[in-house]
């Protein structure tokens, strides 16, 4: 196949620096996938961790597949060819195991597309040899019919069990049985989970199926696996820097936040370890930009020590460093002098709610006065722009809260001459967040609030605001909170051509609207949280 005929051929070549190519002979062939384009998938740390861990094993060969862009999809269909792995160009249906890392619900239809192009039967019960694993999901139920085995929790914590089971037998059935007896794995086909009398009844379908399902976590981050033989693309990817994870989880209690619970408990990596990882990755990749990754860098207890240990190295090697999740207090506090030595980057502040009272309600703990203080000194940090995150659609929110977002942007534009980019999202009651039993605000009210915000925003060339459509928020909430009936909606919308729904520009509501109607989905019940428990309640917290 001549890849030059497709847009961005680097998406399909699989010749990155540090790519691992092994013959399949005598090895267990595994292909891991990400249901979005190469540029996004290659920016996903989880996928890289899985790739490296599995390839450390000499009897396993792990390759990658991403969502192909339209041109390749069309080519494969027209020529009756199968979607293939990047490394060896092996058709997906020749692998024993496929594993998908989901981190955005809106990509579920892309996943079905990859299966179809790869010649993999869509439903779990139709499959004879291949096993399809899914990970990264909080609520597995909407895609339960399409996945044989879910990994619940963190991959590093189950990788040894996974490898052991794959080695023990090559029979699909025997493998699935072994997984069903191992903590951290969930086999949806062994259970029913229907809504009866307004509550979800989770029932094992046979005696051997364990009654409780658990998420698993890495206990010791310092000794958990980190990929250092860094797969380095030859083309730009979305997050074109190496993320070095300094902590996992978050000690804060923002009520809308799913991540704090998904990556619970809060664990930190020692600065010495972080430094070792940075040096190894730089040596292996030559990457010119790094970032220190965590949900909330300001809570990292060893930040001063870490910066003191690495800043000189970054400067000597001319490596850029960004610290995406710092709080503003750090810019004014003891880290100020150290941060000023960083190569230019942007300051990100998750304000979420512009008025103090609402911010207190959602337990977002930041001091806005400091933001304005900081705005005045920002130019001394080499920052190019300020990125702000807001949300609306919270319970008990008033119109003043909406207008306050616009006012805050106005004031900041006045106090600093940097570019400001504001990303405004709608509050969604995501599973396992503190506010999981709240409702999604009515569509009509969300539309009114959106219009109010758009009308109050200051006009400035320095301000860039992104606002997703209300419909895409509704869909995301449905896919996040859905039960097994939502799987039918996903499948139906996919047949109607819904693809790349996470891309604002490509998102279309029509196929979903029709799919919901045709499947008779009681979707309002899911959005409005009218059930006494939830589709995901069976997973131990």
């Amino acid at each position: 196949m001549d890849f030059a005929q497709f847009r961005r051929p680097q998406r399909y070549i699989g010749n990155e620096w540090n790519v691992i190519k092994k013959s399949h002979k005598g090895r267990i062939p595994v292909c891991i996938g990400y249901p979005d384009l190469y540029e996004l998938g290659m920016s996903n740390l989880g996928l890289r961790i899985i790739y490296s861990i599995l390839n450390e094993e000499s009897d396993i060969v792990c390759e990658r597949v991403f969502m192909p862009f339209d041109d390749l999809s069309q080519y494969l269909k027209e020529n009756d060819q199968r979607l293939f792995s990047l490394e060896s160009k092996t058709p997906l249906n020749q692998f024993q195991v496929l594993g998908f890392n989901f981190n955005a619900e809106l990509n579920y239809t892309n996943f079905l597309h990859i299966l179809e192009l790869g010649g993999i039967p869509r439903y779990s019960h139709q499959r004879k040899d291949v096993i399809v694993l899914g990970g990264g999901v909080v609520n597995p139920e909407p895609i339960a019919d399409f996945i044989d085995i879910f990994v619940l929790g963190e991959f590093e914590a189950i990788s040894n069990d996974l490898i052991k089971i794959l080695r023990s037998t090559s029979s699909r059935q025997a493998r699935i049985e072994a997984f069903s007896q191992t903590p951290g794995f969930y086999i949806p086909q062994l259970y029913s989970n229907n809504l009866e009398n307004n509550s979800y009844l989770f029932k094992p379908l046979n005696e051997k199926a364990p009654k409780s399902i658990k998420r698993v976590f890495v206990k010791d981050l310092d000794n958990s696996y980190y990929p250092t033989n860094w797969l380095t693309p030859h083309t730009a990817i979305i997050q074109d820097r190496v993320p070095v994870e300094i902590a996992r989880g978050c000690p804060n209690l923002c009520t809308f936040c799913q991540a704090r619970k998904q990556y619970y408990p809060y664990r930190q990596r020692k600065p010495q370890k972080v430094k070792e990882i940075i040096k190894k990755i730089y040596k292996s990749s030559g990457y010119e930009n790094f970032s220190l990754l965590s949900l909330s860098a300001s809570d990292y207890s060893y930040m001063q020590e870490l910066l003191d240990g690495v800043l000189d190295y970054f400067r000597e090697q001319r490596i850029g460093l960004s610290l995406p999740s710092l709080r503003i207090d750090d810019l004014l506090g003891p880290l100020q002098e150290r941060l000023q030595r960083l190569k230019s980057s942007s300051l990100t502040v998750a304000v979420e709610a512009a008025q103090d009272k609402l911010r207190k309600d959602i337990q977002k703990n930041i001091d806005i006065k400091q933001l304005f203080e900081a705005a005045k000194v920002l130019h001394s940090f080499n920052f190019k722009q300020i990125k702000l995150y807001f949300m609306y659609g919270f319970p008990n929110e008033t119109n003043e809260d909406i207008i306050a977002i616009a006012d805050m942007l106005k004031e900041l534009l006045g106090k600093s001459n940097l570019k400001i980019s504001a990303s405004v999202n709608v509050f969604m009651p995501k599973p396992i967040s503190i506010w999981e039993s709240q409702s999604l605000e009515d569509e009509k009210i969300l539309e009114e609030k959106r219009a109010l915000l758009l009308n109050s925003l200051p006009r400035s060339k320095r301000l860039d605001v992104s606002l997703p459509s209300t419909k895409s928020t509704i869909l995301e909430t449905l896919l996040a909170r859905g039960d097994r009936t939502v799987g039918k909606v996903i499948e139906n919308a996919y047949r109607k051509g819904a693809l790349f729904c996470g891309d604002n520009e490509r998102f279309k509501w029509a196929p979903w609207k029709n799919a919901i109607e045709e499947e008779g989905s009681a979707y309002q019940k899911i959005l409005k949280t009218q059930t006494s428990n939830f589709a995901w309640s069976f997973i131990d917290k």
Binding site: A4, P9, A236, R318
Partner: protein, 98 residues
Amino acid sequence: MIYFSQLDLIHILERALRRTDLPIYFTQGYNPHVKISFRSGLKLGVTGKIEVVLYFSEKVDRERAIQKLKEHLPMGLNILKGSQMSLKEINKLRRQAK
């Protein structure tokens, strides 16, 4: 056959250089990067030759530099020939080209 654009090629060369322990020359300023210049363009998906100028902060052994760089270039990219010039000579060539 190679499939990357000229912009990609800059990154590929920069990262390859950074992986070697050669004394790379970096541009000055807030956003230092490896200095690389091209003396001819390259089309995507075409086999061909391209002339690239790489800059070092001190004199390097030509053979050693070529060897090191070759070790760090991705498959499909090779060095056919390398010659060494002082900054003066480069600037002179530039003026002639204009």
